[in-house]
Structure formats: structure tokens, C-alpha cells
């Protein structure tokens, strides 16, 4: 123990000297570096205008507590003292500003914050993967923007995000450009994504006509279906259905008309909400490419600029929820290493016509084939499995309902819903069979599956960081397995569902030959 201590002590002066040398070297380097970075070399606070933003935000966050306090204060007959409660969040907001400072020096971005528990976040510049510039309405009113520096950490804790909350908008943009510029390119990783143009090239621009797809998006349809299904279920549970005839109706219109009207109203409401949501998030959507990175900007109230390094773009996902698919539309998102779980940031195209989306996918990947090529289907065993899995549970529900009706003597109407579900699952299963497919083309693993939410994922082989083969007892009996290619980006993995086992191993082998020393032989041993 003491020896170790001596060792450390003995090294310390050297280490100090090294640091000093490094510091001087860096300072020289920094002085030669772009203006924005040089300006940020000293510890400094964020923009003073944030003193307005933080208190407002804290007040909003504390609003429930404040309201509670206010009610309690009024109820206990206290005087004006309860209004003092507002001071607490304001103080907190001011302190947040005063205790936060950052610097960009010695090749690192460093952020200090916190009064009671102090955080110092520090990351090397060459680890910077994405730089987002976000501006909420408050920020925009004051001409500010938040710079979020993404470093590819798996942490979802908001305390550990590197957010420079509140820089003047112009400075934020400059900082972004320079941060991305400084991050050195790594050779050999997806270098072939796209030809490097000298100037920024706009690939996709928002089109008002796309608004027609908004009501069909997953969100709208899911909300509507959830509300309707949940409502029906609830009524069913409460036994309202069987009581309907005996109840008095003062409405003056038949119950079915009322129900249909209510459903229509609900649909219109959901559609309007969906359109508004679409507008708010995707207004002025613009996807462009400049040398080395992709830029996305969008937003009506809160504007959001995202930059994605070419090398971090591992692949794309073409999502086709049922509604969009029927309307010939799709959406596109990127699989980006280092963007974490914030999938919404990675959207490359809002719901838009399928042709447009596929075209953008082709341009982003630098090759059209992963988006358009034919996929290998998974064979009869996988198809059988789709049918049994879709219809089986529905049949079980029907059987249970039948038992209940026969046993407890409920109304035969109870059987209609389960029977309808069974009938609906057959085309669903057929569609899922049609969707199922995979291939390996142009260095991309492509997989497609799902029906209600069909998605086609293309992942660059370079970005596959591991394989998982998962098979339940049922799957093993049919010689199927689910192959999962894990990656550091997007949803963290690409799943090839129910692929025949030999094919799965072959796919993994073709994709990453160097792994096969361990892998193929083990599988061979097992069989």
C-alpha cells in the first residue's frame, strides 16, 4: 500500500510537468484554432439572458407544489406569505445559472454545474458525435439556443448530458460548425456513404402536401384505436352493453347514431391533433448534406437543428405503419451511433410519400439497393409461426369467452368481439408473412418485419457490434431463430425475426467473416 503511495508521489512532479507542457502546447494549438473555440478556452458562464429563462422554467416545474402551497395557505387562512413560495423556484433558477459554467480547452469540452452536488462533465472533442441546436419558444424570443453535445454515452440520465443551455443563437451555430469540424474523421468507417460536395446540398424539404399523411401516422391511429378499444372494453367491463336497452334515453336520438357521432367526433379530433402535432414538429423540415455530415432542421415553435456525422450514420429505418402504408407513405429515421435513445432526433424524413422516402434513404446510404432490393423470405416454418402466433391468442380469447357464455350464461353478443378479432388476425398474419424478409446487400444488413408497424431496417455491416441469436423451445423445434444485430445506435439493434437457423449463421458469417472463427464452429459443434 505504502509502496504504491510512494510510487504515485514519486511520479507526481513529472506528471505535473507533463501537464504543463501539454497545456502550453494546447494553448498554442488553441490560439491557432477557430475563433469560437478560442473564445471558449476559459471557464465562462452561459448567456446572461438565461437568468430570465431558468426562473420561468423552474416556476413551471414547481407549479404543482406552488399550487398546493397556495391552496393550503388559503385554506389555513394565512396571509400573503404563501406567495413567497414563488421565490424558491426563482432562486433555484438563478442559482442554476450562476453555478453553471463551461469551457472548451485542451481538446476537451467541460461543463460544471450544480450547487449542492457538483457535476463536472468532460469529454474529448474527438468524441463529439452529434451537436444539436435546440431553441424553445422562450429561447427564441430571447435569441438564444441550447447546444447539446452528443458523445454516444449509453446514459439516459439527464444530469449526464452535455447541454450548453443558453448561448446566443449565432454563437451556438458557429460552435456547432466548429465542433463538428474539429472532430477528426476516422478512416475506414463508412467512408463510402456519399460523395463529398463542396457546398451544402439540400436533399429534402418540407412539403405542405405531406400534411395529409399526418392523421394516418402511428400516433394518431394508435391514440384513436387505444381510446376506442379502451372505451369499448370499459363499457364491456361495466356491463353497460347489456343494460343499454333498459336505460332511459333523453337524447331523443337512437343510441347507435349517438355512438357513431361520438366516434366520428373522436376521429376528427384525433386527426386535427395529429395534423397540429405534425406541423409543430416538422414545420420547415430540411435535410441537407454538407461535407462530412448531415444537417436536419425542423420545428414550428421549438426549432431543432441536428447534425449527424457521416461516420456515425450506421443505417436507416423505413417505417411504414399500416395507415401510412395504405396511403403509400412512409417515414425515415436514421440509425446513428451515439444519439442514444432519443429516437425522435434521428428522424430523417417525416411521414411523406414512399417514393420520396426511399429516394432519401438511397441518398443517405449512398446506394439505392438496401431500400429497394428484393428480400429473401424466411420460408414456410416462419410463415406457420406467424399464423399460429397471430391466431392462437385470439382463438384462446374466443374459447374463453365461449366458456364464460356457456358457463355463466352471458349474452351471446359477448362472442362477437373475440370472433371479430380472430377474423382480423388472419389477414394480419398473412401480411406479416409477406413483410418478413432479410438480405445482405452492398454492405448492409437489411431486415423487414411487422404488419401494423412494418419497418425495414438497413444497418451497415461496419456498425454491427455483436450478434445475438435467440430461440425459444418452439422456435428450436421448427429450426428457427431470431437473429439480432446489435449496434450502438438507434434502437440499439436490428432484429431479423424467425430466420432459419442455418441461414442466420450464414448471414452472420457473410456480414462479419472475422467473427466466424469462434461462432460458426460453435454452432457446428452444437448440431
Amino acid at each position: 500500500m505504502s509502496e504504491a503511495g510512494d510510487g504515485v508521489d514519486g511520479r507526481e512532479p513529472d506528471a505535473d510537468r507533463d501537464d504543463a507542457v501539454a497545456l502550453r502546447a494546447h494553448q498554442q494549438q488553441v490560439s491557432a484554432a477557430p475563433a469560437e473555440l478560442a473564445r471558449d478556452a476559459e471557464w465562462q458562464r452561459l448567456d446572461p439572458r438565461m437568468m430570465l429563462v431558468h426562473p420561468v422554467r423552474e416556476v413551471i416545474r414547481f407549479l404543482p407544489v406552488l399550487l398546493g402551497l397556495f391552496v393550503a395557505g388559503t385554506a389555513s387562512g394565512g396571509g400573503a406569505w404563501q406567495y413567497l413560495g414563488v421565490l424558491v423556484p426563482i432562486t433555484v433558477g438563478l442559482l442554476r445559472y450562476l453555478t453553471t459554467s463551461f469551457r472548451i480547452a485542451q481538446g476537451r469540452v467541460e461543463l460544471r454545474r450544480g450547487l449542492v452536488s457538483r457535476h463536472v462533465l468532460s469529454t474529448p472533442l474527438d468524441r463529439v458525435r452529434t451537436v444539436d441546436v435546440t431553441a424553445s419558444p422562450i429561447h427564441r424570443a430571447l435569441g438564444l439556443a441550447t447546444v447539446r453535445i452528443g458523445t454516444g454515452t449509453a446514459s439516459t440520465d439527464s444530469d449526464e448530458r452535455l447541454d450548453l443551455d443558453g448561448l446566443p443563437a449565432g454563437r451556438a451555430r458557429g460552435l456547432r460548425a466548429e465542433l463538428l469540424h474539429v472532430a477528426p474523421t476516422q478512416n475506414g468507417e463508412a467512408a463510402a456513404t456519399s460523395p463529398v460536395d463542396a457546398e451544402e446540398r439540400v436533399v429534402l424539404r418540407f412539403d405542405l402536401a405531406w400534411l395529409r399523411f399526418a392523421p394516418l401516422t402511428g400516433s394518431g391511429a394508435v391514440i384513436a384505436a387505444g381510446l376506442l378499444g379502451g372505451g369499448a372494453q370499459l363499457l364491456n367491463e361495466l356491463g353497460v352493453w347489456s343494460d343499454l336497452d333498459t336505460r332511459d334515453w333523453s337524447l331523443g336520438i337512437p343510441i347507435w347514431v349517438a355512438l357513431v357521432l361520438a366516434a366520428l367526433g373522436l376521429l376528427v379530433g384525433v386527426a386535427v391533433l395529429a395534423v397540429l402535432g405534425y406541423l409543430v414538429t416538422n414545420w420547415d423540415f430540411r435535410l441537407s448534406h454538407s461535407p462530412g455530415s448531415w444537417h436536419l432542421s425542423r420545428g414550428l415553435l421549438t426549432t431543432r437543428d441536428t447534425s449527424i456525422d457521416d461516420e456515425r450514420l450506421a443505417g436507416v429505418t423505413v417505417g411504414e405503419p399500416l395507415g401510412l402504408r395504405l396511403a403509400g407513405a412512409a417515414r425515415l429515421s436514421a440509425i446513428v451511433t451515439g444519439l442514444g435513445s432519443e429516437a425522435s432526433n434521428a428522424a430523417l424524413a417525416p411521414p411523406a410519400p414512399r417514393d420520396v422516402v426511399v429516394d432519401v434513404a438511397g441518398r443517405v446510404l449512398g446506394t439505392d439497393t438496401p431500400g429497394t432490393c428484393e428480400l429473401t423470405d424466411h420460408g414456410p416454418a416462419a410463415a406457420r409461426r406467424r399464423y399460429t402466433r397471430a391466431i392462437g391468442p385470439a382463438l384462446a380469447v374466443l374459447a374463453a369467452a365461449l366458456l364464460v357464455v356457456l358457463g355463466a350464461g352471458g349474452s351471446w353478443w359477448l362472442l362477437i368481439l373475440p370472433a371479430a378479432i380472430v377474423a382480423a388476425t388472419v389477414p394480419l398474419a398473412a401480411d406479416r408473412v409477406r413483410s418478413l424478409g432479410h438480405t445482405l446487400v452492398d454492405g448492409y444488413v437489411v431486415a423487414r418485419s411487422g404488419s401494423l408497424n412494418r419497418r425495414r431496417e438497413a444497418l451497415a455491416v461496419d456498425h454491427v457490434i455483436g450478434w445475438t441469436l435467440r430461440s425459444t423451445w418452439f422456435q428450436r423445434r421448427q429450426g428457427l431463430t431470431t437473429l439480432v444485430a446489435t449496434t450502438a445506435g438507434g434502437r440499439q439493434s436490428v432484429t431479423v425475426l424467425d430466420v432459419p437457423e442455418t441461414r442466420a449463421v450464414e448471414l452472420a458469417r457473410l456480414a462479419l467473416p472475422e467473427l466466424i472463427g469462434a461462432f460458426g464452429r460453435r454452432v457446428a459443434d452444437r448440431d
Binding site: G152, W467, T468, W473, T486, A508, L515, A518
Partner: protein
Amino acid sequence: MWLVGCLGEGMVTLAILTGAALAWDSFPARWWLVGAAVVLVLGYAAVVPQWRYLVHRWEVSDTAVYTQTGWWARERRIAPMSRIQTVDYAEGALSRLFGLATVTVTTASAAGALRIEGLDKALAQRLVDELTLKADAVEGDAT
């Protein structure tokens, strides 16, 4: 290339399940239900740990780490050495009782972590050292 069988984690599982069954016994429920549960638990404890033990394999080559786990749903995972980010060594309370340890190998993907459970302590330590050395020797930033 080498392959070492893992040590029995079955005992650990059994202990957990018996504990759970005991906890349930104190609950004043209908006795036949408890009896059925005990039978189920005993059956589970008799079969599943053995099954798990039979399935559970792992190996380390120069280029990759490979594990096979599970019983009903069998899962095989492979992580290239170049993509390993951290190697964790953990001893749970129960596994310490049996002198065992768990080694977790994580990659940059949340979906790709490999757990090797129920390793003999000394072996686990050696494995951690080896993996750390090998992962360190490979170039790249592990994404």
C-alpha cells in the same frame, strides 16, 4: 481456443425459489393453492436450474466473446473483442455464499451485453484480466 464449463448456478436459483415459497407460506391463503404453488416451485427448482446449467456455455477466442444462456428461450450472444467497452466483475450476496462471481461484458449497444454467471471466483478474475488485456490490444473506439 478453450472452453470451460460453468459452475452450478442451480443451487442459487433453488435458494431463491425456496425463499419465495416460504414467504408465500406466511400469507393466509387457501391451502390447496399454496400446496400447488409449492409443487410447482419444487418442480421448477428441480428441472430448470439443471436445464439452465446444461445450456449455459461461454468461451473466449482472440476475436470474440461468446455466450449461450437461457432454458426455454435460448440465447446465444457474440461480441467482437474490438467492440468491448467495459468488463464488469460482480459478486452477488448469494453467489458469494457459493464462491461464485458474474462477469458482464458490455459493448456500446444496450442490447448487446454478455453476462457470464456463476463463474468460480478465481476463474472469473482471470477472465476479467484476460478480456481487459485483449480488448485493450485491439484498435478502435469500440463503436
